[in-house]
């Protein structure tokens, strides 16, 4: 085979690979190799943000049929974008949402909730972000769907309509 043809074939292959990966880059679904999906959430006990005497215990979550765990912080801009979705999930769909306040100042976090509303039934203070790590989180915001304490779905980044629909579907 002449070199010219070989190079043309090489070029075509490269273009195909380019198109394939471009689609990967443009699709919002980021591929997650996650060991946590299908597993029980790790064990933790955290102080509640709004009520000092309450504790967020992972065992409570295990007893619940369907719950959402949302990692958020007042300093996180995308959290503001997803906040209306959370409020909707709570108000319209009566979904139990538990917050994990990630590396945040409590005062700021409380102000944030005052300003935008509070979708959470309980909020654990994860000051050092350790629980988030155990959950396998990569950053804020991140949302976990739990069925009897088992993680069945995880969304990285701010919630959007697709993710909300997926959550509602899972609830059925």
């Amino acid at each position: 085979m002449k070199n010219k043809y070989k190079i043309i074939i090489l070029g075509i292959t490269i273009v195909i690979i380019f198109i394939l990966f471009l689609r990967v880059l443009n699709s919002n679904k980021t591929y997650q190799p996650n060991q946590m999906i299908g597993k029980k959430i790790p064990e933790f006990i955290l102080e509640d943000l709004l009520n000092k005497n309450t504790k967020l215990d992972s065992n409570i979550l295990s007893g619940k049929d369907f719950a959402i765990l949302n990692i958020w912080a007042s300093w996180c801009i995308p959290c503001r974008i997803e906040h209306p979705f959370l409020m909707d999930l709570k108000d319209k769909n009566q979904i139990n949402i538990i917050g994990l306040n990630y590396k945040d100042e409590s005062v700021n976090a409380k102000n944030f909730l005052k300003k935008y509303g509070n979708p959470y039934s309980l909020i654990g203070i994860d000051k050092k972000g350790e629980v988030a790590i155990q959950l396998g989180a990569y950053g804020v915001p991140e949302t976990y769907v739990l069925k009897r304490g088992k993680i069945i779905f995880k969304h990285i980044g701010p919630l959007n309509e697709d993710a909300v629909n997926k959550i509602l579907e899972l609830k059925k």
Binding site: Y31, I45, I125
Partner: protein, 627 residues
Amino acid sequence: MAGYIGNLALFFSLIFNVFLIFSAIKEIRSNNFNNFKIINFCNNSIFFLLLISFLTLIYCFTVSDFSNVAVYQNSHTTKPLIYKISGAWGNHEGSMVLFILILSLFSFVFARNKVSEKLKFYTVFFQSILILIFLIFLILTSNPFDQIDPKPLQGLGLNPILQDPLLAIHPPFLYFGYVGFSLVFSFALAGLVTNNFDKSWSKIANFWIILPWSLLTIGIGLGSFWAYYELGWGGYWFWDPVENASLMPWLAATALIHSNIVTLKKDKLHSWTALLSIFTFIMSLLGTFLVRSGVLNSVHAFANDPYRGVYILSTILLITFFSLAIFIIKKPKKSLYGKYSFFQRDNFILINNCFLIFFLSVVLVGTVYPIILDAISGKSISVGPIYYHTILAPFLFLFLFFMSHGPLLSWNKEDKFLQIKNFKIFFPISIVISLMIIFWFFDYKDIILILGLLFSVYLIVSIIFDWITQKKLSFNFGRLISHLGFGTLIFAIFINAYLSKEINAAMKVGDEIKIQEFIIKFKSINKIKKENYEEVFGNFLVTNKDKQVELTPSIRKYDRPVQFTSETSIKTNFIVDYYFAINLSEFEKEKIMVRFYYKPLMFWIWLSILLIAFGGIYQTFRLRNEK
């Protein structure tokens, strides 16, 4: 201010780079290569400017200059100094600077070598094209010296998972490995373009392949070591796509080391060696793409930015296209295969090269295919350990067999059927040893385990035999050590995989339970109060036959805010690790949930990886002194 200097240094290195490429093209056009001085001057300047830029960035991190975006996002005033410094490469921007600095460092050191002017010229030329591509990427999409105004008072902090001394040194090793392969890539292109791809090329290349390979081995080992001790999942390798991304260039480079030796010794396989040199670096680039473009999410992934992804994708594919096009056009034409005979060392190396490429393909498919499938059809498939183990294991045995015999065959003459004498020695010894192990330790017999033990022992025996009968020990020492490390690694992995045990139980003080062959006794519970936390130690005594081990895992309860953390307790010795952890939520309850892992030969896994890397490092020193 410091940021300003760093930025300026980056900018000037870009100018020098453009100038270098420009004058190099002029030289190539006029076809005289007398003017290496200018090129050399530019090459040195680029290196020093990049070094200044990197040091400035470290300075910004050390003094917590939050007007710098990268510092603001990845540091905090209260962090210990070591994490402030390592924060400099614990983020996308900073690690890209390190990436480019290493590209330039290799070019800088290489230009000081005794190599023919023309080869040196082209190598530096290709290397500086790589530097240019990544510099433009850095300055356009991820400048580490971007400023924020007004300056924030406090930073966001380094991801706590990265706050570990091991993780401070793990990335630099990996980068030296990954990026180090760029030099042999440029050198191969230089060899092809100048039609100098021959034995003398291989002789020089040898050093530049083995050095980054050894560093990459250490880098992978460190990552694995950290995962085992810190993540607390009781495992050391998870076939995570990012782990695979580092394994792929390692496999390609391992194949390259061996094919290059054949080129050096027998003046053949030129095309294959050239192709592997290019391919190894492309695998490194693929790893870079996977980690940085945002297609993956993992502990290692950096911030998502679609533009970055497209830029990296395009440049990587362009580099791939042009390097392979150069290969196609300038492919070494020599066909010096000579007389073919099966039982000859170079043939065995070639066979194992094919196996290595096969392993690489399995890992490549397992890593990339699910990502593409997910994006195109929306289907998620999970590719886990089972896929890798089932496909790789049978071929690994053959690989070990060829690896045992290859080094014992001669380069030039056809040997008798694997030198029947060796055959007669190795097989009985390894069968006896593996059967002894299996009958002493195992209740059940799994064929994969038996074969795994048999062939890894076979390899070890053949190396010991080779070692004893070796006439040129110092010459072959590096190879013997690395191969021995590989043999013990496979042995330890098999034993570990089949003998590991995990026990979960609920216990209260005074309880004694007997599960499998272990008796676990919960002796006592102690409380200690420290400044900012209260720690509860469980005191456990594990009895395994007549052996007793005391383990004291604990739970810490931090005050403000209330938070619980679990501290595992690991007792390591040559034979086995005892690994104990208490579950958190049972705190303050009467019964405590405990997890106990029994992990044999973990020490040998780490030692083997060290041996493999040490063999490589020994070899690079020997090659240095030889010159």
